[in-house]
């Protein structure tokens, strides 16, 4: 028959185990919620990648991500480290770089094709991000023959 002291130790042991178990369960629930949020934000980011030439449609993206419009940008930033606006702007620049490299389209055509509203904004944004004008980039660029998901992931400028 256990002494009072042993019982106390056992009891404490149970409490510890119980608390650890609860914390573990809680971490599991929090983790699953984060995974679900991440996957939904990724779906919204994929939608931006698909429709990069269209204006940033936060209400539509928020619906895809199952979050409120008010929270969408903050959660996107927490997930991917940059705002949706910045992500999209750099996607458009990446697609413009692609078209400059791989096609003979004029810079003006490319500007509108990737979603910029004026050639002035396009040139300025492109130069700010890439450090060269679209024309200079076209002259120096080397064609990349890898599957597009890698081009899009790796050649989107981050600076």
């Amino acid at each position: 028959m256990p002494t009072g002291r042993a019982e106390l130790v056992e009891y404490r042991g149970d409490v510890t185990v119980d608390r650890a178990h609860r914390n573990h369960q809680l971490a599991g629930v929090v983790g699953r919620a984060a995974e679900q949020t991440n996957r939904r934000m990724l779906r919204a980011r994929d939608a931006m990648d698909r429709a990069y030439a269209q204006p940033l449609d936060v209400p539509a993206l928020a619906r895809i991500a199952h979050v409120s419009e008010a929270h969408f940008s903050r959660i996107f930033r927490a997930t991917f480290g940059e705002t949706p606006h910045r992500y999209l702007q750099r996607r458009r620049v990446e697609r413009a770089m692609f078209l400059l490299r791989e096609t003979g389209l004029s810079a003006t055509d490319i500007c509108f094709k990737v979603g910029f509203e004026s050639p002035g904004t396009f040139s300025r944004t492109f130069r700010d991000i890439v450090g060269r004008s679209p024309r200079a980039y076209r002259k120096e660029a080397v064609a990349t023959d890898v599957p597009t998901c890698f081009t899009m992931a790796w050649m989107r400028p981050s600076a």
Partner: protein
Amino acid sequence: MINAITHSQVYVLDQDEAVDFYVGKLGLEVTADADLGFMRWLTVSIPGHPERQILLEKPGAPAMSEETAQQVRELLTKGATGGSLIFSTDDCRKTYETLLGRGVEFTEEPTDRPYGTDCALRDPFGNAIRITQPKA
């Protein structure tokens, strides 16, 4: 010397859901499904081509701590574990229509590229998948 790629691996959150997707939707077949006790060894391949298998691995103990597994799951669902599969097809547009009909969500519609025609999607967990019809 080395002469073939026999197994590649992607992480999945749930192996039953992975079978529903890779077999039920994409049309691969289960090549191996064994409960090893410490893990469920689950691989799929192109029907009739067991020489090239994809291991659908669930991150967790005892291979890694629960904390690490959680980090893997969080990266996976951000599309950041690097899980990436590229399949080939004879007819990208037809495959796209077939899979669309099965409820597959695409991230890119069939598009002509310098190397051929391809489209892209993600599995339910965040891994990137491409289906390419190489240039003839």
